[in-house]
Every structure is written in structure tokens, then in C-alpha cells.
């Protein structure tokens, strides 16, 4: 008998690695919306807009989910790195107005890339200081984390007020990113939304590459599951925490640039405004899961866009309702990360 048990143990079959159900669910939501909307071109416009919005939310949320998962830190200050990133793009946009208005697509791309690099660098530096001064003293103290990170958010927001003023700032999209692009008969999508999708896909692929193909990525994935065991293997998890926090802040800064161009208006509170949405995405996706974060972002954006078109009043609660339904189905989120 025991030998038979042992034999069964020896021959246990490995389950497939990819859980397709949440992916199919996202595709299913889009397909179900098509007959409800009625017009293919409208559906396509809404879907591309949702993909763009979803990708920007993903960029902003991906750092937070890793910080949540790896460090067990509830960082309500994450939103301010979005605002910082968006405002730092002004440091590029103001002196390089000529590049923004240039008919050259290369200069337009260059100005976007410069905005992204500057925003990521400065948001990352803010993140480094934020981790040292605000997060480090309150590791493992969730209530205090909420309070001090909110406090940190308010302080940095006020600093932005001091340097950039309290009024909203309008920014212009680079010349070639304006207007729509016909991708089929009666189907026109905004160019910038396509760019946002491309940037989001690049960020996702880069993150997957780092997480799955590098030793640092291996450590991050292991650390999300069981930081204590990572330390017992001889790795300094605290350094990893700092690195992930800085990377998460830089990604939020990148998201801020993309979100700023999306709205074409910058306000100091713009990060805080999307923070609730980001938390919903992180919870739906599963704390610490990058794949879950992507699917969660797309799902939230698709549901928000479709309901806004079909039943605007329902759109106000669509994200909360979606989170409720997902958590009733999978209480740990779409892609739960096993924590020990």
C-alpha cells in the first residue's frame, strides 16, 4: 500500500503552467460586448480605447503589485509617482516645444522617449528617497504604512504645487501623435492610443523578460512567494526590496507620462485620482502577479468603456462590481501568487 502511495507520489503529473481562463474571460467580455453595442466600428473604437487605457493602467499598476507582493507594503503614496512622472515630462516638453510641433515623426518619438527617460529617472529617485525615509521605518506595520504613505503623498504633491503652481497645465501631443488613424472602413482610432498600446506591450514584454530570464527576476519571483526563504538561501532581500521599489516608482513615472499625454492636462492630484483604479487592478490580478496585473488592467478598462457606452450610470460602479465578482470567483485574484 505504502509503495503504491510512493509510486503515485513519484509519478505526479505536472499541471500546465498557463491558466487560460482569465485570458479567455477578457476576450469573452470583448466578444459579448460586440452584439450589445451593435456597430462593429463603434465596438472597435471602444475596444482600442480600452486597450490603450488598460495598458497605461497596467504600466502604472505593475510597480505597485510587485511592491505589494514582494515587500508586503501597502503604498498609498504610489499615486504621487504618477504625478511626479507626468510633471517631469514638462522639463522636456517646455524647452523642446519645437520638437513637439515638428512634422518629423522621429523628433516626435524622440521627445516622447526623452519625457519617459527623464520621468522614470526622477520618479525612481523620488522612490529611493521615499523608501528610505517613509517606508523603511514601517515595514510589517500595515496601518502605519497607510498613514505615512498618504502623508508622503501629500508632501510630494505640495512640492509639485510649489514648483509648478496649483493650476492645471495643458500639454500638447507631439504633432504626429495627434488625430485618428483609419484602420478599416468606418474604423478610426486615435494614434496616441495605438502608441500607448505599443508602449504597454513593450513594458510588459520587458518585465516578463527580466522576471523570467534573469537572476534578479528569479529572485523577485521567489521573494514575492517567500522572502524569508530567499534570505535563508543567502540573498539580501532588503536590497531587492529597494531595487523593486525604485523600479516600481519609475514605472509609475512612465505611466504618469503616458496618462498625462492621454488626458493632455496635468493636475497635481492626477495620480491620486487613478490610485483607486490601480488598487482595484492589483487586487483583481492577484497581489504580486504581473500577468494578473495586465489581465486585470485590460478587464477593468474594457468593462469601464463598454458600460460607459451602454449604460453610463452603471459605469460609475462597474469597476467595483467587477472586483466583487472576480473576488467571489477567485478570492486571491485572477492569478494568485502562492505566499508562504
Amino acid at each position: 500500500m505504502t509503495d503504491r502511495i510512493a509510486e503515485r507520489e513519484e509519478t505526479a503529473v505536472a499541471a500546465p503552467r498557463i491558466d487560460w481562463i482569465p485570458i479567455l474571460l477578457t476576450v469573452g467580455v470583448a466578444l459579448v460586448a460586440l452584439p450589445l453595442i451593435g456597430s462593429f466600428s463603434t465596438w472597435m473604437t471602444l475596444t482600442v480605447a480600452a486597450l490603450a487605457m488598460g495598458m497605461i493602467i497596467f504600466i502604472m499598476a505593475s510597480g505597485l503589485t510587485l511592491v505589494f507582493g514582494l515587500m508586503d507594503v501597502i503604498n498609498f503614496g504610489h499615486g504621487v509617482f504618477i504625478s511626479v512622472g507626468a510633471y517631469m515630462s514638462l522639463l522636456v516638453l517646455w524647452p523642446l516645444t519645437g520638437w513637439v510641433e515638428s512634422p518629423s515623426i522621429w523628433l516626435n518619438i524622440a521627445v516622447l522617449v526623452l519625457c519617459i527617460l527623464v520621468a522614470m529617472a526622477i520618479s525612481g529617485l523620488f522612490g529611493l528617497a521615499f523608501e528610505r525615509v517613509i517606508i523603511r521605518p514601517v515595514y510589517r506595520q500595515h496601518l502605519k504604512q497607510i498613514l505615512v504613505t498618504m502623508g508622503g503623498l501629500i508632501i510630494i504633491e505640495q512640492l509639485l504645487h510649489v514648483f509648478f503652481g496649483g493650476s492645471p497645465i495643458t500639454i500638447a501631443l507631439p504633432q504626429n501623435f495627434r488625430g485618428g488613424l483609419a484602420i478599416g472602413p468606418d474604423i478610426i482610432v486615435e494614434r496616441y492610443r495605438l502608441i500607448a498600446v505599443v508602449v504597454g506591450v513593450i513594458v510588459f514584454l520587458a518585465m516578463m523578460l527580466v522576471l523570467n530570464r534573469t537572476r534578479i527576476g528569479l529572485l523577485v519571483r521567489a521573494g514575492v512567494e517567500n522572502p524569508e526563504m530567499v534570505e535563508a538561501l543567502g540573498y539580501r532581500i532588503r536590497r531587492l526590496f529597494v531595487g523593486v521599489f525604485v523600479a516600481g516608482s519609475a514605472l509609475a513615472g512612465l505611466g504618469g507620462v503616458m496618462w498625462g499625454f492621454y488626458q493632455q492636462t496635468l493636475t497635481v492630484g492626477m495620480g491620486l485620482q487613478v490610485l483607486v483604479l490601480i488598487f482595484i487592478v492589483v487586487i483583481i490580478g492577484g497581489l504580486g502577479s504581473i500577468g494578473g496585473c495586465l489581465i486585470g488592467s485590460l478587464l477593468v478598462a474594457l468593462v469601464a468603456n463598454y458600460t460607459a457606452f451602454l449604460e453610463p450610470k452603471v459605469a460609475l460602479i462597474s469597476n467595483i462590481a467587477l472586483m466583487l465578482l472576480v473576488l467571489m470567483w477567485r478570492p486571491q485574484g485572477l492569478y494568485p501568487v502562492v505566499k508562504v
Binding site: T2, D3, I5, A6, E7, R8, E9, E10, A12, V13, A14, A15, R17, R215, L218, L219, R221, A222, V224, E225, N226, E228, M229, V230, E231, A232, L233, G234, Y235, R236, I237, V337, V338, V340
Partner: protein, 241 residues
């Protein structure tokens, strides 16, 4: 004891308000296989976690290879040459078997000959090398946890109840693996409730009760003395026949 590899002197550990270890003293000789026995709640797991720095000793000294490691952070203790296999295995479920082993190999890559040796001890790991560790059975996870400790030569291996809840045939494989590790020169400190397995492996035994060491000596002595077993461990003859 000449040149002990590990020395615990008057080690106390508090967890919250609880005073778990209350002056633990023992030494482990280089190349020895020491079994730490004791009833549930005696402080065996706490002892291993305190050695690893996962819980801090509130008093006393822990010396490893002549160095005081009492206040050192866990990564430094691990890097000094101690491998740890915790009671709950703690394999990284989302990582493949290969990735779990790569992470444990601090050098960055796995030595091929060493990997072959591990596969010869645990053939299931070869079969599921690229499968996520979360999909393995309980026994296979335990094999992986031990393989992680063996993937590189370590001066000391701390193992916490590896046979707990496993089928006897798998326990047999594990005993074989530990014997080979011992023959290869590893020093092992094993916490074990299964006295039969402990008797087959250990050459030295340390018995704990209520956070203190109540007995230390040769395993052969304890194995031959049923009355001592009864007194120290509450064992009856039929439990380890």
C-alpha cells in the same frame, strides 16, 4: 570537542512574550551527523531558526567555524556555509524545479556532476525538472527542498523534520540521500520526530525539552537504552521496533 563546527552557548530566544529557548548549549563536530530530538514544542525548530538568524537570540552566543554569527543577518549566515531545509519545505511553487535549484546555487549555475548526483538520489526531480515546483507531490517537494541544500557543497546542513507526513518508501530515499551526503563529508544537524530514521542516520544525538538540552551523547547509546528513550522521549518499544 576538538574544533567544533557549530557551538551554541547559553542561547535564549524570545518570540513575542514567549521565552522559547532557555539557555541552549551544544556543539557539533565537523563531519558529524547530529540528530536533535524532543517532544513537540521542545524548541527544536526554534533552535534551527535561531542558528539561521531567522529569529534572533536574545542572549547567548552562536559560533560557526570559529566566527560569532549570533547577530549576523540571515543572508550572511547562509553565505558563511549553512544550508537550511525548513519544516514546511518552502520550495518556490511558482518557480520550476530547475529555477529552485539555480537560485540555491549561489555560484549562479549548477555543477553538472553535482546535479547528476542529485538526480541519482531523487530521480523524480529529473523527470519534473522544468515543471513548476507547485505541481509536485508532497514527497517530491521535500526532495526538492533537500536537493536545494545539497546543490552546492555546504559546511553545515540544517534539516527540520524532512520525513514528516511522507510515505515510508520516500522516507527510505531520503535516508539514503542523507547517508550519501554524510559520506561525502557534509556536517548535518537534523531535527527528527521519527526515531527509527534518526537512529539510522545519527552518530550523535541531542535531546531537548522545554527549551533546554536534557541529553547529549552518542546515538548508539540512546538506541541501545530503552529506558533512557522512555525517559527522554516518551518512546515505547513498539514505536521504534
Amino acid at each position: 570537542m576538538p574544533d567544533p563546527l557549530l557551538t551554541l552557548a547559553g542561547v535564549h530566544t524570545h518570540i513575542g512574550h514567549y521565552h522559547i529557548l532557555q539557555g541552549v548549549d551544544f556543539e557539533i563536530a565537523r563531519g558529524s551527523f547530529t540528530v536533535l530530538l524532543g517532544r513537540n514544542g521542545a524548541g527544536k525548530t526554534t533552535t534551527l531558526r535561531t542558528i539561521m538568524g531567522l529569529w534572533r537570540a536574545s542572549r547567548g552566543t552562536i559560533r560557526f567555524a570559529g566566527e560569532d554569527v549570533t547577530a549576523r543577518p540571515t543572508p550572511d549566515i547562509a553565505s558563511a556555509g549553512i544550508a537550511y531545509v525548513p519544516e514546511n519545505m518552502s520550495v518556490f511553487s511558482g518557480l520550476t524545479v530547475r529555477e529552485n535549484l539555480v537560485l540555491a546555487a549561489r555560484a549562479g549555475k549548477i555543477d553538472a556532476a553535482r546535479l547528476e548526483w542529485i538526480f541519482s538520489l531523487f530521480p523524480a526531480l529529473q523527470r519534473f525538472f522544468d515543471s513548476p515546483a507547485g505541481t509536485l507531490s508532497g514527497g517530491q517537494k521535500q526532495m526538492l527542498a533537500i536537493a536545494r541544500a545539497l546543490i552546492e557543497p555546504r559546511d553545515l546542513i540544517l534539516v527540520d523534520e524532512p520525513t514528516k507526513g511522507l510515505a515510508p518508501a520516500i522516507v527510505g530515499n531520503m535516508i539514503k540521500a542523507f547517508r550519501e551526503a554524510k559520506n561525502a563529508g557534509a556536517t548535518v544537524l537534523l531535527v527528527e520526530q521519527n526515531f527509527k530514521a534518526a537512529r539510522m542516520l545519527g552518530d550523535t544525538v541531542v535531546v531537548m525539552d522545554d527549551g533546554r538540552i536534557v541529553h547529549r551523547g552518542a546515538m548508539a547509546e540512546l538506541a541501545a537504552d530503552a529506558a533512557l528513550q522512555q525517559r527522554l522521549l516518551g518512546l515505547h518499544m513498539e514505536q521504534h521496533a
